[in-house]
Point group: C2
Chain length 206, copies 2
DNA sequence: GTCTATAAGAAGATAGAC
DNA sequence: GTCTATCTTCTTATAGAC
């Protein structure tokens, strides 16, 4: 990683912990191992660092979104995939996805930075909404909808079923972001949630 | 409202919109209609204003919490109250509660300020968690648990049922905080959520 | 590209008159 | 309690040598 990239990386870490205004240019430079003025050879000013981070974030978000769309559509074509999915397997899958979102370095720092900075700028609030509300409900709705169409789930309102699937996951993620010590508890609850979801909406009614 | 109270009020508004560091003492003073130095006759410094707001917030939160506990216990003693609660009545109640949380001036500003400032200080993160995770799940769990005990709801896991009730409400609240234009949509979804919740966990299975 | 020195300006806070 | 004037400190950013 070159200096220009390291600046972005350290800045992202600091912004996600303290917010834009509470991070000083000298602080970023120190972490990179240079003095503040040197930093201005790489970026025009502090705002340009922030903008570059936002740009990179949007790029990564849209790459992930595309991947999910493709994966979702592929899964839809292969109807057999769901047949093999037992409750335990579904829970395992849900937990790994949760842990990825929680621990992946970029995902976690972007999420915390957006949480702090979302009210500074309407565009950031929109990005937050898209990433943590519209897109998840859209992708997961697509998958759950296909499972319903194939008779593996039972509902007459796919969007609300999707909301019931996703909202607890979102809530538990916010818990762990604020208090990492509660991760174990959150994962226990997540598993119970997924199990109960499967009982409610699954093929075999309890 | 005297000057000391007006300072707190305007500061809370500004902090909830821009965050502590992005609000200048002169800005608060201007809104109150005085000059910055006058403000120091009422509060030792900027931090003292913030601390006073946090103190007031915690006071109001605990008053509400006590009220909910008492109301919940009273409701528990009066078993008949739930018998009269039709699905439509339950939806109406849920929507009014949602709109109260969304529009009540203090509730809304405290929530936005906590969202922005929560990572500056572990105590604030703890307050956030208590107010928007532990307490709601505890109160609502108490109520739903009593309804289950009396046979009006059916589940073998009250905490997860409560999570299924509350998590979508929390998610929809974050949507409206970030984009007030989506309130109408959110309330439509909220109603569908409550209706489906009643169908899933209500006495009469669909 | 990195450094030292420094300019330029902003923001919090105080002094002291009224 | 409120004001004007001012101090002090902090922070961003630039100048110019190496």
């Amino acid at each position: 990683m070159n200096t220009k990239e390291r600046i972005l990386d350290e800045a992202l870490t600091l912004f996600s912990e303290k917010g834009y205004t509470n991070v000083f240019v000298g602080e970023i430079a120190e972490r990179v191992g240079i003095k503040a003025p040197s930093l201005y050879k790489h970026y025009k000013n502090k705002q340009a660092i922030f903008d570059a981070i936002i740009g990179e974030m949007n790029r990564r978000f849209s790459v992930t979104a595309d991947m999910l769309h493709i994966a979702g559509n592929d899964a839809g074509k292969d109807a057999g995939i769901y047949q093999e999915m037992s409750e335990e397997k579904m829970i395992e899958l849900g937990v790994s996805l949760f842990q990825y979102y929680l621990h992946d370095d970029y995902t976690r720092r972007f999420r915390k930075m957006l949480t702090i900075e979302q009210f500074h700028d309407k565009a950031l609030a929109d990005t937050y909404m898209k990433q943590y509300y519209d897109d998840p409900l859209s992708y997961q709705g697509m998958l759950l909808g296909m499972m319903a169409a194939q008779g593996f789930l039972k509902t007459d309102n796919v969007s609300i079923m999707t909301l019931h699937f996703y909202a607890p996951i979102y809530l538990l993620l916010t818990v762990c972001d604020r208090d990492p010590d509660r991760e174990e508890e959150a994962i226990r609850i997540l598993k119970e949630h997924l199990r109960q979801f499967d009982q409610i909406y699954g093929r075999k009614k309890k």
